[in-house]
């Protein structure tokens, strides 16, 4: 996540954050979209960014931190460039989703929530991505891979740098 693109070209992260905060300053209920966008800019939510958001939006830091830790989407530590989310929902569960997760763990060498040392992948589980018709399945970034068998999992990762 080197640069944050906008219409006027590349902005530095700090400029992008400042622009974002300007946009949401008087917006009712803007904290969650701000956190989502800030996470897009930084890849995760560093403490200083949370402090800046709290200050600029005039929301107590404790409240910002509370919202951050409540939702599964927000991360306080750096994450991999590619996010792997293996589905362990009901349909995937009865069709062997756990074995897909094992294969993913084995292939990446990290456990649930873990990030590979080279920051290439973060491995997560998800309770359902709504592609139950193709279970068992997983998402890598925004792409859904369905009808998986454990053997195929490692090969899928290879195409993500």
């Amino acid at each position: 996540m080197a640069g944050y693109k906008c219409e006027s070209g590349e902005l530095s992260r700090e400029e992008a954050l400042a622009q974002l905060l300007d946009q949401y300053r008087d917006y009712q209920g803007g904290l969650i979209p701000v956190l989502q966008e800030a996470q897009n800019i930084y890849g995760y939510l560093p403490r200083e960014v949370l402090q800046q958001i709290a200050g600029e939006l005039r929301i107590p830091f404790s409240k910002v931190f509370g919202v951050c830790t409540f939702y599964a989407q927000f991360h306080l530590k750096p994450r991999g460039r590619n996010i792997v989310r293996v589905c362990l929902g009901t349909a995937c569960h009865v069709r062997g989703g756990a074995r897909i997760f094992e294969a993913a763990q084995e292939s990446l060498g990290v456990g649930q929530g873990g990030t590979t040392e080279d920051l290439r992948f973060t491995l997560e589980t998800v309770a359902c991505i709504g592609a139950c018709g193709l279970s068992p399945c997983m998402m890598v970034n925004d792409e859904t891979h369905g009808r998986l068998v454990p053997k195929r999992v490692g090969g899928i990762f290879e195409s993500y740098q």
């Binding site: 009712q28 209920g29 803007g30 904290l31 969650i32 979209p33 956190l35 989502q36 509370g66 919202v67 409540f70 939702y71 599964a72 989407q73 927000f74 929902g89 009901t90 349909a91 995937c92 569960h93 009865v94 069709r95 998800v126 309770a127 359902c128 991505i129 709504g130 592609a131 139950c132 018709g133 193709l134 279970s135 399945c137 998402m139 925004d142 792409e143 859904t144 891979h145 369905g146 009808r147």
Partner: protein, 616 residues
Amino acid sequence: MKSLDQVRVTYQEEYRHKTAKNRIVVGLGTCGIAAGGEKVMTAIKEQAAARGLDVAVDLTSCIGMCYREPMVEVAVAGAPSVIYGDIYPDKVEMLLESIETKTPVYEWAAMQIPNGAVPYEGIAVMDQSPYYQKQVRSVTSRLGRTNPESIVDYMATGGYEGIEKALKMDRMAVIDEVKKSGLRGRGGAGFPTGTKWNFVYGAPGDKKYAVCNADEGDPGAFMDRSVLEGDPHSVLEGMMIGGYAIGADEGYIYCRAEYPLAIKRLNLAIAQAEEHGLLGEDILGSGFNFTIKIKAGAGAFVCGEETALLNSIEGLRGMPRVRPPFPAIKGLFGKPTTLNNVETYANVPFIIRKGADWYAAMGTEKSKGSKVFCLTGKVNNTGLMEVPMGITLRDIIFSIGGGIQDGKAFKAVQSGGPSGGCIPAEHLDTPIDYESLGALGAIMGSGGLVVMDENTCMVDVAKFFLNFTQLESCGKCTPCREGTKRMLEILQKICDGKGEMADIDTLELLCRVIKGSSLCALGQTAPNPIATTLRYFRDEYEAHIKDHRCPAGVCSALLVYSVQADKCNGCGACRRACPVGAITGEKKAVHVIDTAVCIKCGACFQKCKFDAILRA
């Protein structure tokens, strides 16, 4: 008031022109894309250009047959259109040839739509095909048939006629029409939509909101995703009609972040509606103002609960509020708010356009209309379907779903996700409506149906759901926060073979207490999977506890692996597969598993080609 007639006539002409030509339509819902639909589309475009073939390439969403994705429709002008299943790039060449030769590729065809031409022999006509015969297609009528990214397609097929008609009606008349239709909330609880709107209409205040709950979190459910991806305009139109009826000028769609394609298509649809003056100020010159904003969820199942969802839109932690006051009186930002599910809103334009009587003619006495279900799990035909209320589970699983995979025996179907229950074989003939499913201890829920076969352990399934709910419990109220965790611990103990009979009594007690004392529906319904499995599959719990045996062979702590001497030919595959060296035996002699060393990983069971490993 301004009329849309002129625009509509133009668009109908455009749509007619488009569909009258040779064309190929690729199903690009999330399921189609996951199965490789985009690669197929690229291959079609490239190869058609290389051949110099005059064919238009279009996209549509999921038609419902997820088990045959990627699906491609090939329409030759003047002939029936044929819908093919399992189409990968290597099959594209043959499909293009089929346009040139005007002969379908029979063996790949899933079904055909005659479009007024004489149907081909040997290919099932869609309405009469086994998958669609017992379905009705109203909310899902555009899914897999029109391009969801085109307002032309939507308006050419009756779209925005509902809002145009509603704006000419009195607001109360719109509410009465919805009441008369008998439409009930499709998110799970089944509250009558018209009554809810009436409450908000009557609530004092000049600022009101219409909110759409698209936080479809139930594992095993993708109805809302399919509707949002396949017909986003219908949800917008339903919200506009609802907003007009209750007197709201602002709408929010709260959609899970796990559905990026749905959010993309909704944004596109909103922009198109704004361009056409259907959203914004003084819509069609009626004086009605309405805008719609999308809020992406941030990954919390509890936000599907209406008051938690409102908190989340307000930028707070998604914790439920104490009711009363109900959202109809004090909802979003403290203003009167109606909250309806995606499918509920998508039904509304049809009801207004075709009339309440048309809608109420479908279904049972107390549950009118149709319901979209997602059939998944150990069933042959997984996918999306729309059926009239009152159809039996047997029809859904065996007629539409094509029965159980690999010829196994049906054991149970789980309806309503983590809040629902497991329904056993003896109740397969129950007609589906809100009341009858409730009487079985399950719920209609949003429409997820997960089928389980004889190889599914019901204690393990209950444990699976409790693990889910205890993780997703927001922690605000004690019965849910602590209770679900205690129940999970007991289930884990039973699955590990360490359970006692008294644990069943404790579970039953906890079920009652948590159901009766939790703050919101997440906690109140969390015990349902345990209560129903205890009610219908008590023997499985007892087998785990008394005999230390898992009848379905799932709970690994209770399994014992052994070699059946009469089937073993001594190939040694199991010995080599065993990670701990628990298997010994000479070449071509019967092998033996040392149960003291065995870690019950099941590697030998999967490896053996002769079914010689016994798992009991």
